[in-house]
């Protein structure tokens, strides 16, 4: 037993080192991060996550958006993300400090979403996009998330956030398509994806 137990014990120690180095060390070093307060404008970066977006993490996680979408911008030296304008600067640990859940992702079958809230600022756009991505690109490979929406009879006034749909997607007369609570949370979350504030450790790279 001696020899074998020494081997297993040694393996355990070696393995423990990687746990410390790659899991515990980042945890401890990120735990001390504080938001950056601009001395002149008193602007806090990163900003707080709006309450409406808090439920959106769960919807994003549950539906595996991460299998096709990443959420980090690499430095110029690491890849072409900045040239492709997925962000003006690389993302750093502080960008994620207020996030309840972080979905970096390893696939870009779809575009990076780090700054999708900078590119699109209109909830209606997101609703229509999730309902039927073909409205924007008939050949798209982004799946439709129609089940995140509800078809309901218009009672009096049309709902404020009813989807503006025409043609084949148009609802039956007297009906409207409205986002469910899940869709509202998801879109609030997507709208909050804006890493366009300045952080001293990640200056905007000059051309």
């Amino acid at each position: 037993m001696n020899r074998l137990s020494k081997i297993i014990g040694g393996g355990f120690v070696l393995f423990g080192l990687s746990w410390w180095g790659l899991a515990v060390y980042p945890y401890l070093s990120f735990a001390t991060l504080k938001a950056n307060v601009d001395p002149n404008t008193k602007e806090v970066a990163p900003p707080d996550i709006p309450g409406a977006a808090q439920q959106g993490y769960r919807v994003y996680a549950a539906n595996g958006c991460v299998t096709c979408h990443s959420q980090f911008v690499r430095d110029k030296s690491e890849g072409g993300d900045i040239d492709r304008e997925w962000g003006k600067r690389r993302t750093v640990a502080r960008d994620y400090m207020k996030d309840d859940q972080v979905f970096l992702g390893v696939s870009r079958f779809g575009p990076d979403l780090t700054n999708v809230g900078v590119r699109q600022k209109d909830a209606q756009w997101f609703y229509r996009y999730l309902y039927d991505p073909r409205l924007f690109d008939p050949e798209t490979t982004m799946p439709s998330y129609r089940w995140l929406f509800r078809d309901q009879a218009i009672a009096g006034q049309p709902a404020q956030n009813a989807l503006k749909l025409e043609g084949a997607d148009a609802p039956r007369p007297g009906h409207e398509i409205v986002p469910t609570a899940e869709a509202e949370a998801l879109v609030a979350y997507l709208l909050s994806l804006k890493r366009d504030y300045a952080l001293p450790e990640a200056p905007v790279s000059q051309q």
Binding site: M1, R3, L4, I7, I8, G10, G11, F12, L14, F15, L17, S18, W19, G21, L22, A23, Y25, P26, Y27, S29, F30, A31, A61, A62, N63, G64, C65, V66, T67, S70, R74, D75, E78, G79, D81, R84, E85, A93, D95, Y96, K98, D100, V102, F103, L104, G105, V106, S107, R108, F109, P111, P133, D137, T140, M142, P143, S144, Y145, R146, W147
Partner: protein
């Protein structure tokens, strides 16, 4: 040396965990479950491949949440790893550890219990992820109520394995024991701490992906790798009736894998907002990992030298040796693609998927089938009759693997160069790879067929004739086919 022929090799042996052992039931439970989950995994994978190619095909159900790609594909991958590869690996490990310990161990109900709990965990996991409870973390999608039973089952297995080895009557230690025990302990720790930190203690911020991808490295390099390597180290000498070529190479492969394995995962997300030294260390670890893997492949090659003609008739060996060699290739390819100059192009592309698939479908799956083809006849007391079927299965596995990996790698390279060029619009990049997505569909069909062939030959063993002892055949060597570490 007498070269065992196909029948001799595939013959029943009543020694060790054979017929009548208390462990027969648990091992069969793990095998049958593993195959069951493989089928589910492959079916879901196939569905997801059709969905991703054309999101408006009739196989896409935009109104049915639980059948959407973002749920189906992760479940397929999780089942491949935690259902198929892990359960076959554990079942085979029970067989090997029991055999090496040489004494009947009274805890046969522990593996049985573990097998049942493990299956329950997987059922909860499939239910949870399809039902909208996914954590959204790749390879850790199972919600706590599914991850916990799997972890518990793993702990039970780890305790059983350690107790068995401590109480063993055989002297010394063997390389497969070292690998298998390490796998059990490392996985219990890695899976437990990753799920505990992320789901129970709800660590948030950039530490999340750090833990997540540290775990991925452990899953690949300290769970599936040592399981597979341990199985090969045990079975290959047994099948050709000769000891391992070199104890030294075996030791290098062991120490290298435990030293570097845990560091490999972060290289999946280079450029992420994680400490720079973590990322560098991970790239270095992926490169250094080639050393132990090549030590293993070389050892395998030198052990086999002079016996390569046995591969042809001996089907279990064919799966095992091919799997071992694919592992060598996969590891070199893995190291080459983690270099930053290559990674900056291939990161986020299908080539990364292909890299993981090469490991899972090439190395791990081939080894799992090799292990089944060797042990199953001994467990049920029947020999293979329809060896043609097994040959078909082998060749189909290779074709499926080749199609999948070539197709996705080329797609990934094109996708990578496309994305590097800001003048090419994003949608145009997808247009470039569209034909390869069709190739991916085809590969998924091949994988489905090879899984069915595997299942078919698995089932035929039960209708095959019972094995009649034949005096001409050399009895199975008792224990020292491996080299002792002591």
């Amino acid at each position: 040396m007498s070269v065992p022929n196909q029948t001799a090799d595939l013959q029943l042996n009543r020694a060790a965990a054979g017929n009548g052992s208390v462990l027969r039931g648990p091992i069969l439970l793990f095998f049958v479950s593993g195959l069951f989950w493989l089928l589910i995994a492959v079916a879901l994978w196939l569905l997801s491949a059709f969905q991703v190619t054309d999101p408006f095909s009739p196989l896409v159900f935009p109104d049915v949440a639980w059948l959407t790609y973002g749920r189906v594909y992760p479940v397929a991958m999780d089942l491949l790893v935690y259902g198929w590869a892990s359960m076959i690996g554990v079942g085979t490990a029970i067989w090997i550890l029991d055999r090496m310990a040489k004494n009947p161990f009274p805890g046969g109900y522990l593996p049985l219990l573990a097998g049942i709990i493990w299956n329950l965990g997987l059922v909860f996991g499939v239910w949870g992820v399809l039902g909208g409870g996914s954590t959204g973390k790749e390879w850790l999608e199972f919600p706590l109520y599914a991850a916990f039973p799997i972890w518990l089952a793993e702990i039970i297995m780890a305790i059983w394995a350690v107790a068995l080895v401590i109480g063993r009557r055989s002297k010394g230690g063997y390389i497969s024991q070292a690998f298998l025990l390490t796998a059990f302990i490392a996985f219990a720790w890695a899976y437990g701490s990753a799920n505990g930190l992320l789901q129970f203690f709800k660590v948030s911020g950039a530490a999340e992906p750090a833990i997540q991808w540290w775990y991925f490295g452990c899953l690949i390099s300290l769970w599936l790798t040592p399981l597979g390597v341990g199985i090969v180290y045990h079975f290959v000498p047994l099948l050709i009736g000769r000891p391992l070529y070199s104890a030294k190479l075996a030791a290098i492969s062991f120490w290298g894998i435990v030293a570097f394995g845990g560091w490999t995962g972060i290289a999946q997300i280079l450029g992420a907002p994680l400490p720079a030294w973590n990322q560098t260390a991970s790239v270095v670890a992926n490169v250094l990992l080639v050393i132990p893997v090549l030590a293993f492949a070389t050892n395998l090659h030198l052990t086999m030298k002079g016996s390569f003609d046995v591969i042809k008739p001996n089907l279990a060996l064919r799966f095992l040796v091919t799997g071992g060699m694919v592992f060598g290739l996969a590891s070199i390819w893995n190291a080459l693609t983690t270099f930053r100059s290559v990674n900056r192009i291939l990161e986020f592309t299908w080539a990364v998927t292909a890299r993981t698939d090469l490991f899972l479908i090439g190395f791990v799956t081939l080894i799992c089938f090799g292990a089944i083809y060797y042990t199953l006849p001994r467990l049920v007391g029947r020999s293979w009759k329809y060896t043609r079927l097994i040959q078909w299965h082998f060749w189909f596995s290779i074709i499926a693997l080749g199609t999948l990996v070539f197709d996705l790698t080329i797609a990934g390279v094109l996708q990578g160069f496309g994305q590097m060029d800001p003048k090419v619009p994003f949608a145009a990049v997808i247009d470039i790879i569209r034909p390869f997505l069709l190739g991916y569909e085809l590969a998924a069909v091949f994988i489905g067929v090879s899984a069915l062939l595997g299942l078919a030959s698995f089932l035929t063993v039960f209708v095959n004739p019972a094995w009649a002892p034949d005096s001409k055949e050399a009895p199975e060597p008792v224990i020292n086919e491996e080299v002792s570490l002591a």
